[in-house]
């Protein structure tokens, strides 16, 4: 029997839906999950995905992709590539595996939720493919990282990270819970596929794939490139949802995009910025983090939102200014608080690297040079205690990143300071005005206690450095240390170098 062409049956099969006779519509699609809001239910009949995909097509394509990823991995497994990889690059891979693997699994749940509570059968259909995609991504990440555990226990954090209270993971968990788990499915579609996957996964998967290839990690590059092909497809669930939202409630659409873009930008300045500008070996860097963001995120994002009739977010100037400083601040913080991370941050401030940083970021030396100089003096004087923390940075009640990291020293426009807010007699602290405003508007779906708050309310015992690291799940064999064992500081060594300048403290 001749088979029908796909275009002859696709729309009918895709739009299968029915009117329920024995149960209320509200019981099947409760508003708190389906989130139609001001959009009439009829409006969802116009939902139309730009990328048509039938299950048979999906399976055939995915099978090929899977075969390719695992064939490359199998071929390289017998080589000694791991031993030849740069320690800085390995740290980039560890950050990715720890921060991303189980977020892929969280995305399975978000896709399944859209697949169940989306008000259009076409949308639900696409979301099922999305869920299958995310299962595949979780499996690939965990499988590739697992191979390296015997060689380096930090790779175990691919699975472990989100089962701990490590501070960066708390920041990521808060971000992604707010994006995928706490909202209704319309807000999920605008936040996850439209804003995050269309914008920021490019950063993690395209930029990192290039850096991985240049660093010789072919298997990793292959894996994330394969992931990105799925993202490019299922991210398209965002567009049709946004179109309907723009017809009936554009204010809601603008707010969801604005807040998601800001929170994602804050998080990626931790997860991706240091990898690109500090961990990737200098000779393998193609673009700076700022250049990549400007080309792939800023230009693309603006074009995308303008196509839908949306405005630039209200904080746009502040975000652009942040491309000059946020990730430098977070890199310095990660390096200084290095026992609190599951990778080995490399300083990345040898003389040649500093020259590159200064060329890419004209204020780098002025803003960050004096602090690194003091740390380098301590390293070369053998004063390692002077390079390690004895307290915690105060953390933002929205993004959970240290207060000051949305700013920089010697920066009159965005100085290092807290933006406090007293609510019901309690003072919350924020790294920036946008974080404070977003928290104020949406604290019901975004609020999680910071590490500082957990420490001060007695959740962390004993409340000292050892107790905090143990509470974060960091054991001695996993705690971060400088990737190159401080060798990069040797070129700054001068005869009779001493830490700091002369003098004492007086008040």
């Amino acid at each position: 029997m001749a088979r029908m062409k796909r275009e002859e049956w696709y729309n009918i099969a895709r739009d299968v839906d029915w009117t329920r006779s024995y149960v209320d519509e509200e019981a099947v699609f409760p508003e708190w999950l389906s989130g139609s809001g001001k959009e009439p239910r009829e409006a969802w009949k116009s939902w139309d995905e730009p990328y048509k995909c039938a299950y048979s097509d999906y399976v055939a394509t995915q099978r090929e992709k899977e075969g390719s990823v695992y064939a490359v991995k199998a071929a390289l497994q017998r080589s000694n590539i791991f031993e030849s990889l740069d320690e800085g690059w390995k740290s980039t891979a560890k950050v990715h595996f720890g921060a991303v693997s189980l977020i892929e699994y969280l995305a399975v749940l978000a896709e399944q939720r859209m697949g169940r509570f989306g008000l259009s059968p076409a949308w639900r259909n696409m979301a099922v493919f999305g869920a299958l995609d995310e299962i595949r991504h979780t499996q690939m990440d965990l499988y590739l990282a697992h191979e390296f555990i015997a060689k380096d226990p930090q790779f175990d954090w691919a699975l472990k990270a989100y089962h701990t209270n490590e501070w960066g993971i708390i920041a990521a968990r808060a971000t992604f819970d707010g994006m995928m788990m706490n909202p209704n499915v319309v807000d999920i579609a605008v936040q996850l596929p439209f804003t995050f996957e269309t914008g920021f996964t490019n950063l993690q998967f395209v930029a990192l794939a290039a850096d991985a290839l240049d660093s010789g990690d072919i298997s990793f590059a292959n894996m994330i490139s394969s992931t990105q092909t799925d993202e490019a497809r299922h991210a398209q669930q965002g567009g049709p949802t946004l179109e309907i939202l723009m017809q009936h409630d554009p204010k809601r659409a603008q707010w969801m995009i604005d807040k998601t873009f800001w929170i994602s930008a804050r998080l990626f300045s931790l997860l991706t910025g240091p990898g690109m500008d500090y961990y990737t070996p200098l000779e393998h860097r193609k673009q700076s983090y700022k250049e990549f963001m400007e080309e792939w995120i800023v230009a693309e994002f603006l074009r995308l939102i303008e196509d839908y009739g949306l405005e630039k977010p209200w904080y746009w100037k502040e975000f652009l200014a942040g491309l000059e400083s946020w990730h430098h601040s977070l890199h310095l913080g990660v390096w200084f608080w290095r026992p609190s991370v599951w990778w080995k941050p490399q300083g990345g401030v040898s003389k040649a690297e500093r020259a590159w940083l200064q060329e890419k970021y004209p204020h780098w030396e002025e803003q960050w040079g004096p602090i690194w100089d003091t740390l380098i003096q301590n390293i070369n004087a053998g004063n390692m205690e002077g390079t390690l923390p004895e307290t915690l940075p105060w953390l933002c009640n929205l993004c959970h990143l240290p207060i000051g990291t949305a700013a920089s020293p010697h920066n009159p426009r965005y100085p290092v300071r807290s933006y406090p807010l007293t609510h019901n007699g309690y003072t919350y602290h924020f790294c920036s005005r946008p974080c404070r405003q977003i928290w104020w508007e949406d604290k019901d779906t975004l609020h999680q206690k910071t590490v500082i708050e957990r420490l001060l309310t007695g959740e962390i015992q004993p409340p000292d450095e050892g107790g905090i690291l143990a509470w974060m799940g960091l054991t001695p064999e996993v705690m971060g240390d400088d990737a190159y064992k401080y060798k990069w500081a040797e070129e700054y060594r001068e005869p009779a170098a001493a830490a700091g300048a002369e003098g004492g403290l007086h008040a």
Binding site: P393, W394, T405, Y426, H429, L456, G503, A507
Partner: protein, 90 residues
């Protein structure tokens, strides 16, 4: 006489790049508060200097002999410590 009470503050030191948790006592003078905040920064991320420090709270420069209790510094509040050369008179 009651025991001194710990007061956790959100403290920033001069040209440092983050604000930090520092626990002071309600009986500490501003001289002592400055030393406690500086301990986490000076000689670590900023070089030592032969200079005086001042404490600012809610826009006011506080006298070196004033205590935390006298200054009304409450838990979780911002406190700024600077070198005097920053243009602030103690």
């Amino acid at each position: 006489m009651p025991d001194p009470q710990p007061i956790p503050i959100n403290a920033k030191f001069d040209d440092d790049f983050v604000t930090q948790l520092v626990v002071v006592l309600n009986t500490d003078t501003m001289r002592k508060v400055a030393i406690k905040v500086a301990h986490h920064v000076v000689g670590k991320r900023l070089p030592k200097r032969d200079a005086d420090m001042v404490v600012r709270y809610q826009g006011r420069v506080l006298s070196a002999d004033m205590t935390v209790a006298e200054a009304g510094i409450a838990p979780l509040q911002n406190v700024y410590v600077d070198w005097v050369e920053k243009g602030v008179t103690p």
